[in-house]
Symmetry: C2
Subunit: 412 residues, 2 copies
């Protein structure tokens, strides 16, 4: 592991002064290699799938693990899309002059070495590797043991792309073992890894948070809220909530709690609940919701802080904007919250006062995604308050330096 | 300590939605209170000074500790200058639309709660408290035991300013004990402190780095380089180097190593060394420097990585730009490095390829300072690679959130 770290740091030094052309070429070549070797990738993936079936992985896990020709094509296309993004490195973020004639610029630079620890989805290998490379970083990938052979085969194509483009293959390395100890060693390599991105379930993130000596780009969970304000458009409320909860229930941007103003609850809730139930969602509610719909499951205190990641939603009636913002401050995981209203004033107050990474007006919380934000792709979503918040795309995988140009100035 | 943390978090929630007027007013009122109570501040400072003399503090330490009417006036003026800075919160950093009609903004928001751990200079109390407040953060201050009474008196005036402006006094709190254990407790309060800024000597920073569970804005040391390129203007080289080394030898931006191209060493070094010696500087050099000036002290390998913070400089002859950049990559602490040259091409390569927080062309490394950068003031300088790098001013004491405005969009 120590040697992987040293080689990554070395590669990062080279990438830091590499222009966009070789990096983009490496990504395009890797995309071609993935398409060319589709049969081999499917064969390696079959080894993982077989072992997974023997281990008794759930159908959902097996689905996440599986590669198909369409998924490999999507991965290749993803690499090409990342190659086509603007270069996030060398961007002049600010420029100003001082009275003494000094000229200052703040210019974006790579972060250095990124460590990515993830679970079973093999496409994370391609996405994370490509995003880090695009931003001029070296990356150390540590995938789940379930996807070992698939990830190794993908990583080898990325390294081939690097070599074809004349870049150090060590810029994208995979930990060559599924040994659990390797994770612990990675988390202690603060000299050679600048930031760790953990991608996975709550237990993985908790373990990594407890053990890491390296800063993390992470979110623990997404307890996301959609708040139906008194001035909501009923049709928007209905369609946005159905989508926010049920489009995909297993994603971090899925709405877990619905808040609704008392003045409109009786009028709007029946159709909202009807749609959710029709889509297979269990509806839990507080006492006021029970009055409107006697079939709701009574919600307990625990429900307000639970990330179901499932077809379950908790509904609470509130007195107005202040109570909604207060409920969110207490129970949200600061990921994504939305307000449905036609009142510009209420919307602005909500967007300003709710302290979450992403705050939305009249839109589905399921838009919480780097691709949907137009950032190209994301390596994860951060609910932290340092460096990056919300989707972590190529721009968030950079930092900056100050360039100062003078003509002999000395400081008085 | 736990109660201090909870109250800081509470105050941070209030500040997060406070406009600039009350924050600026609090700073102006605090400035007035410092001027009004100058006699009391001098009296409290005299207690610290007396205890310091009894403890046998060095003359340099006592000088740092001492308050004078002029220093108190400078502190008050500093608060007013910070009040006059543009509001770093609520700034639209980027705005764009998506094809589906969603409107996105990235807007700056406060970090939350900042912890500042510092040594003897009481003015850090005023600077750090004011910068954090300006950026909408609550702050927990932990000054050195030597300056306890002075810092407490300053902090009380900041809190008075908060109250006069109708803001929670808990926004600026000082740890009410000089007990060393308090630092350890602060470093573990990751729920209630978002970032720690340690200000002090290397041993303080090392201890805090080892113990902290909270991210740090810090630099361990400033092993800064000034490189005299073959195309340097001799007069600029001479005056810039004298200033970079000797203006103040105890600051982190002071040059510790001079690199000079072999082709100009014989012509330029004698006058450079003459000036430095005349100012009281000890000059150490490699073998090639010794050939030019037999009086230099032979430099050892250790010299190239040493932050003297004193009137000592190490000089090395290099073959050219590549060797200079290589030397800096190996030995620098990534703080601040400068090139002296009239060649635009060499300057650009140096500014691009040297991976330090601040890279300079034809200017003194002693300009590495938030005030000199025009950022108003700084809470410290960071050599980290996440969030903030270089001077940490009010802008770096903020993070951002995404505001998304739609008209009912659902995600396909």
């Amino acid at each position: 592991m120590a040697s992987i770290g040293k080689r990554a740091r070395q590669a990062a030094r080279v990438l830091a002064t590499t222009g966009r052309a070789p990096k983009d070429r490496a990504l395009q070549e890797a995309a071609s290699a993935l398409r060319r070797d589709m049969a081999f990738l499917l064969q390696e993936n079959a080894r993982d799938m077989e072992a997974g079936r023997e281990k008794g992985l759930s159908a959902a896990m097996l689905d996440r693990l599986e590669l198909t020709p369409a998924r490999i094509e999507a991965m290749a296309k993803g690499l090409e899309e990342i190659a086509a993004l603007p270069d996030p490195v060398g961007r002049v973020m600010a420029a100003w002059d001082r009275p003494n004639g000094l000229k200052l610029e703040r210019v974006s630079t790579p972060l250095g070495v990124v460590g990515v620890i993830y679970e079973s989805r093999p496409n994370v290998t391609a996405d994370a590797g490509a995003l880090c490379l695009k931003a001029g970083n070296a990356v150390i990938l540590r995938g789940g043991s379930e996807s070992f052979y698939s990830s190794r085969a993908i990583c080898a194509r990325l390294m081939e792309g690097l070599q074809t483009a004349g870049l150090p293959a060590d810029a994208i390395q995979m930990v060559p073992t599924t040994d659990r100890e390797a994770v612990g060693i990675m988390l202690s390599m603060s000299e050679d890894i600048d930031v760790i991105v953990p991608r996975g379930g709550r237990s993985l993130i908790e373990r990594i948070t407890a053990d890491s000596r390296i800063p993390l780009f992470k979110h623990l969970e997404g307890v996301c809220h959609t708040y139906v304000h008194a001035d909501a458009d009923p049709d928007k409320a209905r369609s946005v909530i159905l989508n926010a909860k049920m489009r995909r229930t297993g994603v971090c941007g899925a709405t877990e709690t619905i808040l609704i103003d008392r003045s409109v609850a009786e009028r709007l809730l029946p159709s909202i609940i009807h749609d959710l139930r029709a889509a297979g969602c269990e509806v839990r509610g507080d006492e006021l919701v029970e009055v409107i719909d006697p079939d709701v499951v009574p919600a307990t205190e625990e429900d307000w802080s639970t990330e179901y990641l499932d077809a379950i939603v908790a509904v609470r009636v509130v007195e107005g904007l202040d109570e909604a913002i207060g409920h969110i401050a207490r129970h949200s995981s600061s990921h994504t919250e939305a307000i449905i209203t036609e009142s510009a004033e209420a919307a602005e107050r909500f967007l300003n006062e709710v302290d979450s990474a992403i705050v939305m007006h009249n839109a589905s919380t399921q838009f919480a995604d780097g691709g949907e934000f137009g950032m190209g792709a994301e390596i994860g979503i951060s609910t932290g308050r340092l460096h990056a918040r919300g989707p972590v795309g190529v721009e968030q995988l950079t930092i900056f330096k100050y360039k100062v140009r003078g003509n002999g100035q000395v400081r008085p």
